[in-house]
């Protein structure tokens, strides 16, 4: 309650800090490895601080081996487009399923659940063939199109929209909003935490997706960031860990920055105090 340190607060902070240390520990090694010469990475003694600081070399290698700017740009374009379409498609659909009465709602639910369970690995081959027939391989379209429908988004928004009071929607209808208007002006602003959470997941998932780009992209021009990481991998002979970690850091940092910006939304959670009940 107060800002002083009560016992429960101390316990809380201790738990959180301990957990954070555990969760972050892999990154400590990652950052440390990114600054180590290759011969310093695997040693018999644990040393986090590199003996010879080779950050510059590793990052230089990471930058010179792959067109990092191009990769990042592609990542931004692809994630942006995917998110845009996902939200555009999923929110009205979830709204209709949550708040409107129509016969197919149950059937939709079945579809959504099914979609949730189908891994892209399973359908990659038919999709690949279809994209090939449509001559859409190697392009943003191939990277984006299969993900424009996110059942995850539909399902997630569905759960949040259902918790939205009906009276709010009623008021909006009487104020003259169309159903789409309600979605845009009432539902979305009040489901902001959910939308932000979804934005984070969507961007993270597609930024890091390696599987599908690998299938549809065979030209450097449209490669996404994870494809770049491959240049540091050599299964047969062992990876180039320093450069790999440096590159990983480089493509993870934009995400962390985006998360830091987005997570403020969680703080300003909207509570339904416009209503009585």
């Amino acid at each position: 309650m107060t800002s002083t340190f009560s016992l429960s607060r101390i316990i809380r902070l201790t738990l959180l800090s301990l957990g954070a240390i555990i969760f972050l520990s892999p990154y400590v090694f990652m950052i440390s490895a990114a600054g180590k010469a290759q011969s310093d990475i695997f040693t018999s003694s644990l040393s986090l601080i590199p003996a010879h600081l080779t950050y510059a070399e590793n990052f230089a290698k990471a930058l010179s081996r792959v067109p990092m700017a191009r990769l990042l740009w592609n990542g931004v374009v692809v994630c942006g487009l995917i998110f845009f379409f996902q939200v555009l498609v999923a929110i009205p659909c979830a709204y209709a399923m949550a708040k409107l009465r129509f016969g197919a709602a149950r059937a939709m639910m079945v579809l959504v659940m099914l979609g949730l369970l189908v891994p892209i690995h399973a359908t990659a081959l038919p999709l690949y063939v279809a994209f090939d027939r449509a001559s859409l391989l190697n392009g943003y379209a191939a990277l984006v199109a299969p993900f424009t429908i996110s059942v995850f988004a539909i399902f997630m928004f569905l759960q949040f929209f259902r918790a939205m009071p009906d009276d709010l929607i009623h008021a909006a209808r009487l104020d003259g909003m169309s159903e789409l208007g309600i979605v845009a002006r009432v539902i979305v602003p009040n489901a902001w935490p959910a939308v932000t959470a979804f934005a984070i997941f969507s961007v993270v998932a597609h930024w890091n997706d390696l599987y599908w780009p690998l299938v549809v992209i065979s030209k450097q021009d449209y490669a996404t960031p994870p494809l770049g990481l491959m240049y540091f991998r050599a299964a047969e002979a062992g990876d180039d860990y320093g450069a790999l970690m440096a590159a990983t850091l480089m493509i993870t940092l934009p995400l962390v920055a985006a998360f830091l910006l987005a997570q403020k939304r969680f703080v300003e959670g909207i509570t339904m105090t416009g209503l009585k009940g």
């Binding site: 290759q38 011969s39 018999s44 001559s135 065979s218 450097q220 491959m230 002979a237 062992g238």
Partner: protein, 398 residues
């Protein structure tokens, strides 16, 4: 002008090599342009990509395929038969492509590709540990018995040090090394029966078993073994020469790294399987095929080898490369670590690929059973027989 699209696997390894070769090639052949498709991380992914793209406009003109997957490619009739091109060329031997070398990339007599980067398995060892355990680093063990004895001593040094790491995981390549080293074969000559559970095979798994029980070999995952060795925590490591350059880098000057020939159970009849990959031509366009053939020969030729060998650790796949002073003679003089692989070239034979649609699955079955030996959940004979029985069931019924 012809543009060739080239696809290759393991870019962490081959990117620099490919860049260098293609640059030089384009300088020599200004009318041919090389462009690279997105590479694949592993051989498996490489062949998946190719098979998926086969027949589509995405298919590259040239690719590099793991030697043990050539058969698969051939069975699916994806690769261009190089036989006629070899014929037309006439003087392959003069260009350094001896019959032995051509054979490495043949499937049942058909020239599917040209071996590009070839490897065999060698023994890496930590001279410091060997010395500490009372061995003589300058006179490394030549038989498995010696290796196992010394490994046991190294393990006994304590301090978390292990004696041996033998890379048995992933595929059957290293098992082949033991089996072929004992003079054994995978299947009978007509490919209808399992042969690896004969006496040679039993010797092979016995060695593996003793590596664990007497030689101080723990159950490592593949990267864990490499890392432990690089950290100076393992006495001997048995794996491909292809990892040599990387191992040198990983070890730095933490300890005195040496290499030596891998012991053969049967020093006389023993052979070693050839790892690595072959350049394969996919394009059926006649004009492109000519250009592609040029590139294939260039990459697999002495120049290519002279780029591949120092950058990786592979052994030269072209006889000119090792012998001609123009190429690698000096390099070998200056880099004694690389000589182990080179010296084993005479015993290299093709890596055996199993027939039929279960070909790859068979290797996994063998590996699974090896793991039972390594973690001592089954005794060697039992595991070998199980493997044999299972593989037997996977062979095509003709």
């Amino acid at each position: 002008e012809t543009t060739l699209t080239v696809h290759y696997p393991m870019p962490g390894f081959f990117k620099d090599v490919m860049d260098t070769i293609s640059k030089k090639f384009m300088a020599e052949n200004p009318d041919i342009k090389i462009q690279f498709a997105s590479p694949s991380a592993t051989y498996e992914e490489g062949i998946q990509t190719i098979l998926r793209q086969a027949g589509t406009s995405e298919m590259p003109d040239i690719t590099f395929i793991g030697l043990n997957r050539l058969r698969m490619l051939d069975e699916r009739d994806v690769a261009v038969d190089l036989g006629p091109l070899v014929q037309k060329d006439g003087n392959m031997a003069e260009q350094g492509f001896s019959d032995t070398i051509l054979k490495l990339a043949q499937v049942k007599g058909k020239q599917v590709g040209l071996a590009f980067a070839t490897s065999n398995s060698i023994m890496y060892y930590n001279a410091d540990l060997v010395k500490a355990a009372g061995g003589n680093p300058d006179n490394p063990p030549k038989t498995w018995d010696e290796v196992i004895a010394l490994g046991g001593k190294i393990k006994a040094l304590g301090n978390g040090v292990d004696g041996i790491d033998f890379r048995w995981q992933g595929d059957d390549w290293m098992f082949s090394a033991l089996l072929f080293g004992a003079g054994g074969k995978m299947l009978s000559d007509d490919e209808s029966k399992v042969a690896f559970n004969g006496p040679e095979g039993q010797k092979a798994v016995e060695v593996l078993h003793r590596l664990v029980t007497e030689g101080g070999m723990p159950v490592f995952t593949k990267p864990a073994g490499e890392q432990a060795f690089a950290a100076g925590k393992v006495g001997f490591e048995f794996q491909t020469t292809g990892a040599l350059r990387n191992t040198i880098k990983n070890v730095g000057n933490k300890f005195d790294l040496r290499t030596a020939k891998m012991p053969l159970i049967d020093p006389v009849n023993g052979r070693l399987p050839t790892g690595g990959n072959a350049v394969v031509i996919l394009t059926h366009d006649a004009a492109k095929q000519d250009a592609a053939w040029k590139f294939a020969k260039f990459a697999a030729g002495p120049y290519g080898a002279s780029v591949v060998v120092p950058g990786t650790g592979y052994v030269p796949n072209n006889e000119l490369a090792a012998k001609s002073p123009e190429y690698l003679v000096d390099f070998y003089k200056q880099n004694p670590l690389f000589q182990a692989g080179l010296s084993q070239m005479p015993v290299m034979i093709p890596w055996y690929a199993f027939p039929g649609s279960n070909g790859v699955k068979v290797t996994q079955t063998i590996v699974d059973n090896l793991s039972r030996i390594v973690d001592q959940s089954a005794d060697p004979k039992e595991a070998l027989d199980d493997a044999a029985a299972e593989v037997e069931g996977m062979l095509p019924r003709s």
